[in-house]
């Protein structure tokens, strides 16, 4: 009988060869391009900017080459097959026979849409139930929500879901009184309370969906490979509605497999953790991955924001492997609906990744982990470097124009490769090489899908090609906008400043906010106009080279609005553009989620006057919601006289004057105090009408009048 495969069988020298191949390719490509660039710079009139331009170019090109080489190696692996992948350890075994261990499925949440959270959880729970392996799993909703409405909605939805699924004792809800250290603190709090009861934890985001099959397989892989500490999946982006999110999910679905295969090729047991849709071995994680603070204060120092990369590095440092289960099916997440929402997310990630600079030289980290940290930093620092590179090139060009009668003749008209002169301007050769590195992986991915006859899942070959061309145009226009965003974030963080935002939009909308778009993008538009106009006047030939960048910047606001329109996104889907296999052949879980959410959202909204404080109103007025809420609160010792007076005054104000007179903090204080919640419920119903504010009188008369059940996040 053959010995089952484990990752321990992967030959270390083979892993070293893979990495040598990868880094050699990156080095060769970067060297070749830098050589062209140096030649180009040194052949023209000598300038002090030559050296900085060359250094910047080499750094930026190495970054592009890393992506390109990953994709090319991915293509190689896809065509040839890869025996060094962790999914092999359970291949061909029926789900019912896979070995499992006690597992907590945790979902940290923070003010997200409760309907989406709990309907997502329902789908995962049901899917796991269907595998027949539910007994090994517990579910935890770990809430840090600080919006009173969201909090109460979560509690009601949790109780309702448990009732509907008979999930009491298996699905748990925990709200932190004080939300320290954001998501990593939330998870750490869970681990301190219950971690030792579980061997594994599957970490999900509020928008994650995983099929029961994929969860069982993940845990079984951990059981089979006892040296693995973290096993990360590659979630697919789904449920996009706006053109922006549909383009992102199309790109990730079409190009993703090649990059992911390539990542596994050279990552092997030193892969990375992306924060969710992953399984973690709890005991070593608790022992080795608790995060210390960084030197200095935020935003550059202080608590670590992007915890996942660091946790992976700490686990690896302690001898635990981190693998990427890149080829496992049934793992999904959702992307931001608009360009602005994407930038808001990038703002957080940027700050977190820049903090990793402290850890680049940390003692004991594996070199590959250092490389992951560096790539994370370069993901954002690359943008200001690109901007600087292009600005220096522009100034350099202006300088050349001033000193040369004919600027167009400044560069050489041939390219030297060793001793051979190729009749092509060197700048063009360099440009073509760069474009090849950026676009070839996209073309190869398209070719792979066409070759394997999978184009039908993307709407057919014609629509697939059109969608790819449109995606390339969109990504080319969006790249300079993102460059400007990232450059701004990096600059602000280095200066110790935060970035402020106007109102935040979470869901896809048919009527995007023009005001927000203009306020967010006007600087980019102005910058593009000034840059474009000056280039056009001083060096018209250079203007055309810059035009794709300038076009994106000048059109940033209308582009942002256009790509945010849900109606346009739905139209692209109707005509078969940007289709993905997850839309044409969706997993059952995605279809169910879609159907359940549609049912939730079509329900009646609370009346307008009550909407703003509906959660607080339910927690006080509704006898059931009040009872559930009080049951979930921890009893407190009676506070000092002044604390008691404070609560008495707040309660009186709430009933007599209505919730508008209280701040969110005061409302949260009352909601956290079980004695106040009991008192408020009782007194609300006992007080004669004239002693209550009109808001409460309206609430009592309106509640449950038009529906048999109150408005909650969950309906079925």
């Amino acid at each position: 009988m053959s010995v089952p495969f484990t990752v321990e069988q992967v030959d270390k020298s083979r892993v070293s060869r893979r990495r040598a191949t990868f880094f050699t390719l990156v080095f060769l490509l970067t060297t070749l391009a830098s050589w062209f660039m140096a030649d180009l710079l040194w052949r023209g009139p000598s300038n002090y900017a030559d050296l900085p331009v060359l250094v910047l170019f080499a750094i930026l090109f190495a970054n592009i080459a890393t992506g390109f080489c990953t994709a090319v190696l991915g293509l190689y692996v896809i065509n040839r097959g890869d025996s060094a992948r962790i999914t092999r350890s359970i291949e061909g075994e029926p789900l019912s026979q896979l070995p499992l261990g006690s597992t907590a499925i945790i979902m940290p949440v923070f003010n997200e849409d409760p309907s989406r959270i709990f309907e997502g959880l329902r789908v995962i729970y049901r899917s796991l139930e269907e595998t027949g392996r539910l007994d090994d799993f517990d579910f935890f909703i770990l809430s840090d929500s600080n919006d009173p409405n969201r909090w109460i909605q979560e509690e009601v939805a949790w109780a309702e879901l448990c009732k509907q699924l008979n999930g009491f004792g298996r699905i748990f809800y925990r709200k932190r009184r004080v939300a320290i250290n954001k998501k990593s603190g939330n998870v750490a709090d869970f681990l301190r309370r219950w971690g030792s009861s579980y061997r594994y934890m599957v970490v999900l985001d509020a928008d994650s969906i995983m099929t029961g099959e994929s969860i069982v397989q993940l845990v079984a892989m951990m059981e089979r490979n006892p040296t693995v500490g973290i096993l990360q999946t590659a979630p697919r982006i789904v449920n996009g509605i706006t053109p922006f999110s549909r383009i992102q999910q199309f790109a990730s679905r079409l190009y993703g497999p090649m990059f992911l295969s390539g990542l596994n090729y050279w990552h092997q047991g030193e892969s990375n953790f992306w924060g969710h849709n992953a399984v973690i071995r709890v005991a070593p994680f608790m022992e080795h991955a608790a995060l210390p603070e960084l030197p200095g204060a935020e935003p550059f120092g202080g608590r670590i924001l992007s915890h996942d990369f660091v946790e992976a590095a700490l686990m690896r440092k302690a001898g635990w492997k981190v693998w990427l289960a890149y080829d496992i099916e049934g793992t999904f997440e959702e992307g931001p609906p608009t360009l602005i929402d994407s930038a808001k997310r990038d703002r957080r990630w940027c700050q977190g990744n820049l903090q990793h600079s402290w850890l680049l030289f940390a003692r004991g980290f594996h070199p590959i982990n250092r490389f992951h940290l560096l790539m994370g930093i370069m993901g954002y620092v690359g943008s200001p470097l690109w901007l600087l590179f292009m600005l220096i090139c522009t100034l350099h060009r202006f300088n050349t124009v001033q000193h040369a009668a004919d600027a167009a003749d400044a560069g050489p008209h041939y390219t030297m490769i060793f001793d051979y002169a190729v009749p092509m301007p060197e700048a063009l050769a360099l440009f073509i090489l760069t474009m090849v590195l950026i676009f070839l992986p996209k073309v190869l991915s398209l070719g792979l899908v066409l070759k394997h006859g999978r184009s039908g899942a993307y709407g057919g070959p014609f629509r697939l090609i059109i969608s790819t061309v449109l995606e390339v145009i969109a990504s080319a226009l969006l790249a300079p906008i993102n460059m400007m965003f990232h450059a701004k974030f990096v600059a602000y963080i280095l200066l110790g400043q935060g970035v402020s935002w106007v109102t935040q939009q979470r869901k896809a909308s048919d009527d995007p906010d023009w005001r927000e778009a203009i306020i967010t993008h006007y600087g980019q538009t102005l910058f593009g106009l000034v840059w474009g106009a000056s280039t056009y006047i001083i060096a018209p030939s250079f203007f055309w080279w810059l035009s794709p960048v300038l076009l994106g910047l000048v059109l940033s606001a209308p582009l942002s609005i256009l790509l945010s329109r849900a109606s346009l996104g739905r139209r692209t889907r109707e005509i078969g553009l940007f289709l993905t296999p997850d839309e044409t052949e969706p997993a059952k879980e995605l279809t169910l989620l879609d159907r359940h959410l549609a049912e939730c959202y079509k329900q009646m909204q609370p009346i307008r006057e009550l909407r703003r404080d509906y959660g607080l109103m339910q927690a006080i007025l509704d006898p059931y919601v009040n009872a559930v809420h009080v049951s979930l609160l921890r009893q407190r010792r009676p506070g000092s006289y002044s604390v008691r007076r404070y609560f008495v005054e707040l309660r009186r104000k709430l009933l007599a004057d209505g919730p508008d007179r209280l701040s969110t903090r005061e409302k949260m204080a009352l909601l956290l105090d079980p004695e106040s919640m009991n008192w408020l419920h009782e007194q609300l119903w006992k007080q004669p009408p004239e002693k209550l504010s009109p808001w409460w009188r309206l609430a009592m008369r309106q509640y449950n009048v038009l529906t048999a059940t109150p408005v909650t996040a969950l309906y079925r």
């Binding site: 002090y48 608790a290 100034l395």
Partner: protein, 195 residues
């Protein structure tokens, strides 16, 4: 044979104004609706009981507000009923009220046994069983464990940088001056390199 009308009209509050009793009636009606008791017949039966008990108390002390009395009476009726059903009559009001309402919600009692809510005589045994077995468990038993962050050795260069960084943070004027100096140097460098 039809029941005589005078039995239906037997109850009338002897004290308080009709407006006061209307307000009390509306309050109890709202409260029942908040409990998702939408069956009119059941509402009327409970309402009459509650108002009768409240009216009896009002006769003894007419300074009390009928709405408050009615709300107190329905609370008392519920406490007695929950205590009987859950088998623990000695719990304080806050606990029995909360536990009873949670059990009622989780068992779907009002929907599944619409005429049994607050009925003292005839509660189906399966309803009673459901009520007794339903309670809320937000989390499993805690097994508290420590999770202590370990210091990461940042490396000699980074340690020095960190210390410098922390030192600079203590003097914000120096920090701002350094940042401006850095910015101006970069600008000067770019200008010098490209002119």
């Amino acid at each position: 044979m039809e029941p005589p009308l005078d039995t239906l009209n037997a109850f009338r509050p002897r004290t308080g104004t009709p407006e006061q009793w209307n307000a009390a009636y509306i309050r109890v009606e709202d409260y029942l609706r908040a409990h998702r008791v939408h069956n009119r017949l059941q509402q009327i039966t409970i309402l009459q009981k509650v108002i009768a008990r409240a009216a009896a108390r009002h006769e003894q002390d007419t300074t009390l507000d009928p709405t408050t009395l009615a709300a107190e009476e329905i609370d008392r009726m519920m406490d007695e009923w929950f205590g009987e059903l859950l088998g623990d009559k000695n719990l304080p009001h806050e606990r029995i009220a909360v536990e009873g309402r949670v059990a009622l919600l989780l068992s779907d009692g009002v929907d599944r046994w619409p005429y049994s809510f607050l009925d003292e005589q005839c509660v189906p045994p399966e309803f009673a069983q459901e009520m007794q077995r339903r309670s809320i468990q937000a989390g499993p038993d805690m097994t508290v464990t420590s999770m202590v962050p370990r210091t990461i050795e940042l490396g000699a260069l980074t340690e020095v940088a960190g210390q410098t960084f922390e030192q600079i943070e203590k003097w914000p004027i120096l920090r701002v001056t350094l940042l401006w100096a850095l910015f101006l140097s970069v600008m000067a460098l770019v200008f010098y390199a490209t002119r």
